[in-house]
């Protein structure tokens, strides 16, 4: 799959922002006033910034309101509905903390659940697609949720929990990669089943429909970036979990150390998301004798 920058930025930033909102909502001893403002400003900037960036790849962003209508069948629509509800309710909860110094715990709980729900709906947009076997597994949701919760813990300064969750996220990531590497072959789709000619002999592509690449090939076949996939996996793990864990475990916690840990983590998640798309193989590639 073509790794579109807008979608990588969106899933990375929104995941972290919504994970942060979940921790803030569940917090039984929330800070109030300016302290709360700082946390919520960062959380909303990440979540909203990510959501806005996701509209950049749309052909007609001015019709985006229509995307709230089909929640009965469409995970993309559910994501939109969930995101607006989560941000509205967490906005009310945050206003209570910042301006009134009051914690309306029930709002926080509902907002936190909706925030995690939004991450889940995002993961299901990818996880539902039978056409991309690497994504088509419940582990995709586990991956997105673990990353969001670990990133949220890091961003809200819950150092001990963050250490555990970052290591857990690294484990989930490795399992997801390992399962993903055989997913396409396990599904059993090949040029034989794609053309129905497989029982007659070996099928190979002789000629593409047109001499130059088309929309389908650009969108679904991305081979160039896979060359360095193994190296990028290591880099992603080191930045996402390794560096933050070392920084938090070895140095006394300060704003500077925390900032370094957060930046490293986000860069690692973005690398993971780039690989998420670049390594994904779509069944359309079969028809072109490519992956």
């Amino acid at each position: 799959m073509h790794p579109a920058a807008s979608v990588i930025v969106f899933t990375t930033l929104s995941g972290a922002g919504l994970g942060m909102l979940a921790w803030l909502g569940f917090d039984s001893t929330p800070s109030t006033g300016w302290g709360a403002f700082g946390y919520y400003f960062i959380a909303f900037a990440l979540a909203v910034g990510g959501l806005i960036s996701s509209t950049f790849h749309l052909g007609h962003p001015e019709r985006a309101m229509k995307a709230f209508t089909q929640w009965r069948t469409s995970w993309l629509s559910r994501e939109g509905v969930c995101a607006v509800l989560a941000l509205s309710i967490m906005g009310l909860y945050a206003a209570g903390l910042i301006f009134l110094g009051e914690a309306y715990a029930i709002l926080g709980w509902i907002g936190a659940i909706l925030s995690l729900g939004t991450v889940y709906t995002t993961s299901m947009i990818y996880g539902q697609l039978a056409t991309i076997p690497r994504w088509n597994t419940p582990f995709t949701s586990l991956l997105y949720l673990t990353f969001a919760i670990a990133g949220g813990a890091l961003l809200t300064g819950k150092v001990t929990i963050a250490l555990v969750l970052l290591v857990a996220a690294a484990f989930v990531q490795v399992i997801w990669w390992k399962k993903g590497d055989t997913a396409f072959a396990d599904r059993g789709s090949n040029l034989g089943t794609a053309t129905g000619l497989g029982d007659r002999g070996a099928v190979r592509s002789l000629a593409h429909p047109h001499t130059s690449p088309n929309y389908l090939m650009r969108e679904f076949i991305h081979i160039v970036g896979r060359k360095h996939a193994q190296k990028l996996r290591v880099i992603s793990l080191v930045l996402m979990a390794g560096v933050p864990v070392v920084l938090l475990a070895l140095f006394p916690v300060s704003h500077f150390i925390a900032l370094l840990a957060v930046l490293s983590h986000l860069a690692g998640v973005a690398t993971s998301r780039w690989l998420f798309f670049a390594e994904a193989e779509h069944t359309v590639g079969i028809y072109y004798g490519m992956r």
């Binding site: 799959m1 089909q70 429909p209 088309n214």
Partner: protein, 259 residues
């Protein structure tokens, strides 16, 4: 809503005969010609006369080679357009309701004025039947020429999809698969019509007829017993001339024997 209909009254679709298709791409051109100036946004081209030209097509023809062990390789031309699946995964993923499957005839369509161009339906389609138009930013797909098949302004002979109407080899057939007596249903039953990637559970309406089994070099033709032998013994003057010439050296047979 982008719910799929539980059943459709008709199941309109195509039968594509892989035995007959000669790979001329006439269906590709007639499809583009009709659909660029009728239903919805035109099918744009990018850099049509430049390097790496690119464009939106609703129908494309691939060419494959099939080679069985010990057999000669066979070329199969393979036209591919929307299969109007009964369990269309492209419809249910649509966040705006722009994609829908018609209850009355099963055609899968895009309401372009509701399409936000997110591309998710193209991701959900295993066959590459949907293409996001690069100029209009909306999703384009085969409409089964919905603006031809019911169009009473056209002569009756033209009320079928442009690709079917134009195919010079008769490799494409249009009809209602819900009717077991229809031309397409009978063809599918007689020739063993196939689904593409059945393992994905999309239940395509369009069917592909496999190439017929070809004879091999070693087979004797079924017509052979009915043919007169081509080489006959000469008679009369020609027979005498043949004998006399055979006595002279330099004959092909003699040279072969000398080797």
């Amino acid at each position: 809503m982008t719910d799929l209909p539980t059943s459709t009254e008709k199941k309109l679709g195509l039968v594509i005969d892989l035995d007959t298709c000669v790979g001329c791409h006439a269906c590709v051109i007639s499809c583009k010609g009709w659909n660029t100036e009728n239903y919805g946004a035109p099918l744009s081209d990018q850099r049509p006369y430049g390097e790496e030209p690119m464009g939106t097509f609703l129908n494309r023809v691939h060419s494959y080679e099939v080679k069985a062990e010990g057999q000669v390789a066979q070329t199969v031309h393979f036209p591919k357009s929307c299969l109007h699946c009964e369990n269309a995964p492209c419809v249910t993923v649509c966040p705006t309701g722009a994609s829908y499957k018609r209850q009355e005839d099963g055609i899968v369509l895009v309401n372009e004025s509701s399409c936000i161009g997110c591309g998710l339906c193209a991701w959900a389609c295993p066959y590459g039947a949907r293409e996001l138009d690069q100029a209009e930013g909306v999703m384009k797909k085969c409409t089964l020429c919905v603006d031809r098949i019911y169009n009473e302004n056209l002569p009756e002979v033209d009320r079928e999809p442009a690709c079917v109407r134009t195919c010079p080899a008769g490799a494409r057939h249009f009809g209602d698969f819900a009717d077991p007596e229809s031309h397409v249903s009978k063809l599918t039953a007689e020739r063993g019509g196939m689904d593409l990637m059945p393992e994905l559970g999309t239940a395509p309406v369009n069917k592909y007829l496999p190439p017929r089994v070809k004879d091999s070099w070693d087979d004797e033709s079924v017509l052979a017993p009915f043919l007169e032998p081509v080489a006959q013994e000469p008679k009369g003057f020609m027979s005498w001339l043949d004998k006399q010439l055979s006595r002279l050296p330099g004959d092909v047979k003699e040279m072969e024997g000398a080797e």
